[in-house]
Structures are given as C-alpha cells and as structure tokens.
C-alpha cells in the first residue's frame, strides 16, 4: 500500500520538491541582490531615495506575504503584468525578501567601525574597492546568522505559494491527499520533510559562520 502510493505519487512529489527549491533559490538570490542594491542606494545614493526605500521596507514588512502574493498574481494582470504561478511566486519572493535583506545589509554596513573606512580613504583607496575589500568581507560575520535565519523563513514561506497553484511540494501533497483521502500521514510526512530542510539550512549557515569568523580567533 505504502510503496504503491509512493510509486504513484513519487514523481509528482519529486517535481514539487524541485519547484520548491527553484522558487526558494531563485527568490532568495533575487532578494539578496535587490536587497543589497537597496542597502547600497540607501547608504550612498541621494537622500530622497533613502526615504522611498524606507517607505518600501515598512510597507512590505507590515503586510502579510500572502496579500503581497495576491496583489501581484491576481492584481498584476490588471496593470498588464501577467505572470505564471511560478513566475509570480519567485517575483513575490524577491519583493517580499529584499527589504529584509536590505535591513540585514544595512546593519552589516553599520557594524564596520568608521575608523577602518577612514583608514582606507587615507591611503587613497577608491570607494568601490573599500566596499569590496574592507566592508564586505567583514560584514559576513555579523550578517551570516540573520541571513541564515531569513533563508529559513523563506524556506517555510514557499508553502504559501501553493495558494496560487504553484505546483510546489505542499500543492502536490494536497493533491495526493485529496485523491487518496488520506490526510494525516502525508501532512505529517511533509512536516518532517520541511523540518529536515530547515535543519539542513541552519546547519549550512552555522558552517558558513564558523568559516567567516576564523580570523577573529586568537591563536
């Protein structure tokens, strides 16, 4: 019985897992990139822009992801933005994640002592080089933990994409549950699976953190 179910639904579940990972990875990477650009604009861009960014960050952080997803997916076509469920899922991840990432990067920038940047200016280093060589490498230390944390949040947020029929893991499980009239076991198994995914993400984050803090240890 069990094996038969697995043979029947295995491919769909595997496909769902692939979609989950795709949305998660693409959304996270996009979110990190946009968030980083926002943080840079906030720091080095014109003053008026930092106001716009502030409002954007507050709006996104003050509203549920699900509503943002609905606005994009159902409201988008009314302003000429027609997206497939997966496209909408990834885009909404970028929109939703970037303000949080921007905040993480902002606090990372602020964690670098001003004197170190002045010292770099004093030897004539260009600002881009200072960002690349002085700020970024050190920023990894304070931001790794919050970044990992947010990647974990996003891992879990992928489940919400099922609501707009993104064929990800939860969606596939729901389909299977409805067709087989078994509910408890599949959702229990699914829970364990997400749990595992989150644990693995956390473990990778901890490893990265160990790596980036190496130079701070006294020999």
């Amino acid at each position: 019985m069990e094996t038969e179910l697995f043979v029947r639904y295995g491919p769909a579940l595997l496909y769902g897992f692939g979609i989950t990972i795709l949305c998660w990875l693409a959304g996270s990477i996009g979110g990190v990139i946009v968030g980083f650009i926002l943080a840079c604009l906030n720091r080095w861009g014109p003053h008026a822009l930092s106001w716009v960014i502030y409002v954007y960050v507050e709006i996104i952080r003050g509203t549920p992801f699900m509503i943002q997803l609905f606005i994009l997916y159902y409201g988008g076509p009314y302003i000429g933005l027609v997206l497939s469920p997966v496209q909408a899922g990834i885009t909404s991840f970028v929109v939703y994640g970037s303000p949080y990432f921007a905040e993480i990067f902002r606090s990372g920038f602020n964690a670098i002592p001003k004197g170190q940047i002045e010292a770099a200016r004093c030897v004539g280093m260009p600002e881009t080089r200072i960002l690349w060589r002085i700020i970024l490498p050190q920023m990894l230390v304070p931001i790794t933990a919050p970044l990992t944390n947010f990647f974990i949040i996003l891992t879990k947020e992928t489940a919400i994409l099922s609501v707009v029929t993104v064929p990800e893991l939860l969606f596939q499980t729901q389909t299977m549950a409805a067709e087989t009239f078994t509910f408890v076991e599949p959702f229990l198994a699914l829970s364990l699976f997400y749990w595992l995914m989150v644990l693995v993400t956390g473990w990778i984050g901890a490893k990265v953190e160990q790596r980036v803090t190496r130079h701070l240890k006294r020999a």
Partner: protein, 217 residues
C-alpha cells in the same frame, strides 16, 4: 485600467468586520503563546535532561515547519484523534502552539541577560524558587523581551492570513470572497494590505509606548 475607489468604499465595512477576526485570532494566539511559551521556556531551562530535550525538540519542530502546513496538519489531525474543535479554535490553537516556540526562545534570551547575581542574591535571601520566578525573573524577562514580544504579535497578525486557507472568514479570506464577486483584486487586496499595515502600525506604536512605560516603572 481605472482604479475603482467605489469598490473599496462599498466593501470597506465588510473588510473591517473581517479584520476583527484577524485581530481576534492573533491576540488569542498570542495569549496562548505567552502561557505555553513561558511553560516551554521553564521546561527548556529545567535540570531534567529529558524535559529539556523534549522542549528543544518541540521548539525546533514548530520553528522548522511552515505554519501553513502545521495548520493543515492540525485541521485534519484533530478530528482523527477525536478532538472536534471548530475551525477558528483550531486555527488559534495551532497559531498559539507554533508561536509559543518563538516566545519561549525570546523569554529564554531575556532571562539569560538578567545578571545571575540577582538570582544568587535572591537565594541568599532565602526566597523560594517559585516566588523567585514569579516575582523577580519573569517580570524582568517580559520587560527585556517586550520589543521582541510585540514583534511576535505583529508577526501573528500577518500569519493569521494563513487561516484563510482552512476557510476562516478573516481579512484575507473575505478579501478573496469579495474579489470573486467584484473582479477587482487590485483594489480589494491593496485595501486589505492597508488594513493589515494599519493594525501593525498601531501595534508597533503602542509597543514603543509600553516599552517606555516599563523602563520608567
């Protein structure tokens, strides 16, 4: 396309009525979260390794599984184990049990930031352990953890939207229903977003006020 303020105006009463459910779910969820979270935190800090391990496992699981999946699991599993709760209660319970995992960690962090000298001083005075918790440690932990707890409540307001999936008529669900009738998703969902934002804005403002009060008191 033309943005129809009329649609918003007509449906605003329904949306606001639905927002009361949003608030009810998140506030009751928070209440459960605080009570259960405190117990969980105490268990997590207990001397008994089995209790401690169980708490660690609980916290890890509830923080590791999407709340939506937890809600569905709860929704289907409760009748299975013979508990027939109405959907709203089930959603509140699930939200509270999940949030408790976070609250427990917030309280633990706060407790650990209280200088251990205070505990020692209390023991030196012969204050019994339970009173120590109730009168000295917990009040301080709540005060230190206040910003994070308010944050957690704001989070609950946002995740209460997930209850729409199991058919509860809170703000998100009602927005979906209205959209189904009016075919005006942009207007309705943006209005819903504004309402969510307003609730959270009020919460964060009051949070800051409470924080100030607690600091003086």
């Amino acid at each position: 396309m033309n943005f129809s303020f009329d649609t918003i105006w007509h449906n605003l009463p329904y949306l606001l009525a639905a927002a009361r459910w949003t608030i009810l779910i998140s506030v009751s969820g928070m209440a459960i979260s605080l009570v259960w979270g405190t117990a969980l935190c105490a268990t997590r800090l207990s001397a008994n390794p089995f209790l401690r391990g169980a708490a660690v496992l609980y916290i890890s699981f509830f923080r590791g599984v999407p709340l939506l999946v937890q809600l569905l699991l709860f929704y289907y599993a409760l009748p299975y184990v013979g508990l027939d709760l109405p959907a709203v209660q089930a959603a509140i319970l699930a939200t509270g049990l999940c949030s408790a995992a976070y609250t427990a960690e917030i309280l633990r962090g706060a407790l650990q930031s209280i200088p251990s000298g205070q505990t020692e001083a209390a023991y030196a005075l012969g204050i019994p352990s339970f009173s120590l918790w109730r009168r000295i440690l917990v009040p301080q932990a709540v005060r230190i953890g206040m910003p994070s707890l308010v944050n957690e409540l704001i989070l609950l307001v946002k995740v209460s939207s997930l209850a729409s999936v199991v058919g509860i008529g809170e703000l998100t669900r009602i927005s979906q229903n209205i959209t189904g009738e009016t075919y005006r998703p942009l207007e309705i969902y943006i209005t819903a977003a504004v309402i969510y934002f307003a609730i959270n804005w009020v919460l964060s403002i009051s949070g800051r006020l409470i924080e100030k009060k607690l600091q003086i008191g």
